[in-house]
Structure formats: structure tokens, C-alpha cells
């Protein structure tokens, strides 16, 4: 018992230090009303009045979409060769680029991510699987391969400075607002020092987050 407490206390200290290093205290965190409210607007309203089809036009069933955030990272079945494992932010960016024709999809994608995360609050995490949807073994195998790539990448790029368990606990702090700018985890990783560079919409970034997600408790 004493050992458990010591471990927990140690982990808490490490997380607090990491959060401080990331500059999180005092920031608007994921689930902040502004991000969620803006995400809901993007979700329900198309920016193009001439083409009013919005996300919610087809995905109107809140019960069906409630489990989406918990199911990421997962294999997105886009037309080949675009199909791959994606984070929720990346999948949202792909969708708003295609449907809303946004030249820079990141703000809409980040706020929709916050909105879907808020909608799915309390839903147990189940990367690769959506509640009420069939389970596809090929997609799970692709996700497992992504986790393995992410683990190797983490060991190469991040492990010297950051313990994966601590970093994993910060995943839910994104998207966040920094200096008035909305930032997703993917954009943060792109700007974070280290080699190789991780573009926010890359497979490598999805792999890294897929691995870190595995480090979170289910």
C-alpha cells in the first residue's frame, strides 16, 4: 500500500512537472466552453450558405456519435491510398477539408474535436472500435501496427526526456488555447523540438498518439 502511494505521488509530481513544462496551468483546456461551443457551431452549420450540408446533417444522431471520440485513434476507411490510422483531429481535418472546402481546416477540426470529446464524456476509451458498430479485424490489425510504429518512434524521439505514461496523461488536455490560438496535440507535436519533424496530419503523428493512447487506462 505504501509502495502504491509512493508510486502515485511520484507519478503525480512528474505529471505536474510535465504540465508545467507544457505551460498548461491557466490555459483553457479541452472541454472549455468556448472550444466546445465553437465546435458545435462547425458541427451543425456549414460555412457555405450555398451548400448547407453540415456534419450534423448526416450525423444527426447524438447517440451514434457519442462514442466517436473514444474510438480514436482508429483506421479511417478513406478511398485508397488515403485510408490509414488517424487521430480524431486528423479525421476531422480531412472531413472539413472535403465537405467544407476549407483551405486551413485546423481551427474547425480542433474545435469539432473538443465538441465530440465533450459529447463523449464518460464513454470508456476503445481505440479502433465504436460502440454499436461492428468490429473489423483488419482495422484492428492496422491500429496495432500503428501502435508498434509509434512505440519505436517514441523510443527514438521522445523517451530520453519524457516518460510515456506521463505524456499520455496530457492527451486529454488537447485541444487547448495558447495565447488566444487554438492548438491541437498534433500541432503541438509538430512544433515540439526533435527529429524527425512530425507534420500535424502525418501518419507518424497518428502512430505516436496511437502508442500514447495505449498507455492510458481503459
Amino acid at each position: 500500500m505504501a509502495y502504491d502511494c509512493a508510486v502515485t505521488r511520484g507519478a503525480c509530481v512528474r505529471v505536474a512537472l510535465l504540465l508545467a513544462a507544457l505551460g498548461l496551468p491557466g490555459l483553457a483546456l479541452a472541454g472549455s466552453p468556448d472550444l466546445v461551443a465553437e465546435g458545435e457551431r462547425w458541427w451543425t452549420t456549414s460555412p457555405d450558405p450555398a451548400n448547407p450540408v453540415a456534419c450534423a446533417t448526416c450525423h444527426w444522431d447524438a447517440g451514434a456519435t457519442r462514442g466517436w471520440a473514444a474510438s480514436f485513434p482508429k483506421w479511417k476507411p478513406l478511398p485508397p491510398p488515403a485510408a490509414r490510422v488517424m487521430t480524431l483531429f486528423q479525421a476531422n481535418a480531412e472531413a472539413v477539408t472535403r465537405h467544407y472546402r476549407l483551405s486551413d481546416p485546423r481551427r474547425a477540426a480542433a474545435t469539432i474535436t473538443a465538441y465530440l470529446a465533450a459529447q463523449g464524456a464518460g464513454v470508456p476509451r476503445s481505440p479502433g472500435m465504436s460502440a454499436g458498430q461492428p468490429v473489423f479485424p483488419k482495422r484492428l490489425r492496422a491500429l496495432a501496427a500503428s501502435v508498434e510504429r509509434g512505440k519505436a518512434l517514441y523510443a527514438r524521439r521522445c523517451d530520453a526526456c519524457h516518460w510515456a505514461g506521463d505524456v499520455a496523461r496530457t492527451l486529454t488536455a488537447y485541444p487547448r488555447v495558447v495565447g488566444g490560438r487554438i492548438e491541437s496535440l498534433e500541432e503541438y507535436l509538430e512544433l515540439h523540438r526533435g527529429e524527425p519533424l512530425l507534420p500535424w496530419n502525418s501518419q507518424a503523428t497518428a502512430d505516436l498518439i496511437a502508442y500514447l493512447s495505449e498507455e492510458l487506462p481503459r
Partner: protein, 229 residues
């Protein structure tokens, strides 16, 4: 072997085979299609084999006036089910069917809020290739799109054979995510055994943003689409 023994063996064999046949449960997808208001909708249910959106089209059926459909399958596995009804945004969903079982699905479609962004089927034609003694017939579809964001879903369905086709674009397209060109799409159909019957053919198009045409059935005379309230 005496004749009576032969008859007895033959009868026994027939009974065994009949029971064996009866034991093979069918593999199928069956479903209902309705609007958000609960109104049954007729239309098309078309299948991709394997992962959804892979553009490997397989078979399909007409959805009847009561919104019911059943697609018999040769084997279980993963399929992409796409359901279309005139005036509504098409609905795709990935499904997994177990061999020997029937998967029941429920599809709810939402109307296109405006038809201004829908692709347009301008003309349909069936052209026997005279040089090949009409053993080949080209099915052609003249397609436009106000937003110029067509995708691979320029679909033709032959209800007589149950075959589904993504029609060939007028020129090569780099990837399935690229915007497909406007112009004349075509299919080359082998008519050496069975002549083509235009009454069997149905066409529908959905672009990259899911804007969906009406289903164009025989006599293939395009009409102005109407908004469903």
C-alpha cells in the same frame, strides 16, 4: 445391384443431399430504409466488397416501395453498403456479415437541403459496337457537376444481373480522392450472350461531399430534382 436396391440407394442419397442443402443457411444483408420522419423509402442498395470506399463494387438490389431490401451474398466478410433514394443524401456504412447468417440493418436517410449542389445526369445512351457485331454495348452517361467535385461514385446498376459498376471516367484520374472530371462516363458490357435491356439499368451519382443525384431509371429521362421538405 438390383433395380430396387438402386432405387433405395438413390432415394437415400437424395434425402441426405436435401438435408445437407437445407442445412446451408443463406448469407445475406437485409434491411429497411426510411426517412428521419419514418417514411419508407424506395431506392438502391449497392455493395462494395471488402473495405468501404475501396471502389470495388460487387452487387446490389432495388429497395422496394416499403423500404425493404435483401442482398444475397456468396460469402461472409466485410462489405461497404451504400443506400440511395431520390432526394436524399446517400448513406454509406461498413458492415460485417458472418457466413450463413443474415445481417439486419436499418438505414435512415436525410433529404438534400438544396439540390443546387447535386451532380447532374444530362443524358444516358446504350450504343452497340457495330464493328464487333454488337457483341459489346457501351453504356454512356453524360455527367456535369456544379461544384466540380465528382468522385468515383458514378454508378450503374443492372437489376437483371444484380451487378454494380463504377463507370469509367472520360480520362484517367490520379487517385480516388481526386476530383473526377465532368463529361461522358462509360461502361463496356459484354452482350454476346444476352442483349442489353435498358429497362434493367439504373444510375446514380454521389460526389465527394455526398451530394447525390436522383436515381435515374428507365426511360432515363432526367428531370429537375425537387427538394423534399
Amino acid at each position: 445391384m438390383t433395380r430396387s436396391a438402386f432405387v433405395a440407394v438413390f432415394t437415400l442419397l437424395s434425402v441426405v443431399l436435401a438435408f445437407a442443402g437445407a442445412g446451408e443457411a443463406r448469407t445475406a444483408i437485409t434491411g429497411t430504409v426510411k426517412s428521419k420522419a419514418g417514411q419508407p423509402l424506395p431506392g438502391l442498395a449497392l455493395l462494395e466488397k471488402g473495405e468501404i470506399h475501396n471502389n470495388v463494387w460487387d452487387r446490389g438490389v432495388l429497395v422496394d416501395a416499403s423500404g425493404r431490401f435483401t442482398i444475397e451474398l456468396p460469402e461472409g466478410g466485410q462489405y461497404g453498403l451504400h443506400v440511395y433514394s431520390s432526394g436524399y443524401i446517400y448513406a454509406p456504412q461498413a458492415v460485417r456479415v458472418e457466413a450463413g447468417k443474415t445481417l439486419e440493418v436499418s438505414v435512415t436517410l436525410v433529404p438534400e437541403p438544396t439540390r443546387a449542389n447535386d451532380p447532374v445526369i444530362k443524358r444516358v445512351g446504350f450504343f452497340p459496337w457495330e464493328a464487333r457485331q454488337s457483341k459489346v454495348t457501351f453504356v454512356k452517361l453524360d455527367v456535369a457537376d456544379p461544384n466540380d467535385d465528382l468522385g468515383p461514385q458514378v454508378m450503374a446498376f443492372n437489376a437483371a444481373t444484380g451487378r454494380v459498376y463504377a463507370m469509367e471516367p472520360p480520362r484517367k484520374v490520379r487517385t480516388l480522392k481526386a476530383n473526377f472530371p465532368q463529361g461522358v462516363y462509360q461502361l463496356e458490357i459484354d452482350t454476346s450472350q444476352v442483349p442489353i435491356n435498358p429497362r434493367d439499368w439504373h444510375f446514380v451519382i454521389a460526389d465527394h461531399r455526398c451530394n447525390t443525384t436522383d436515381i435515374l431509371s428507365f426511360p432515363h429521362e432526367p428531370k429537375s430534382p425537387r427538394v423534399i421538405r
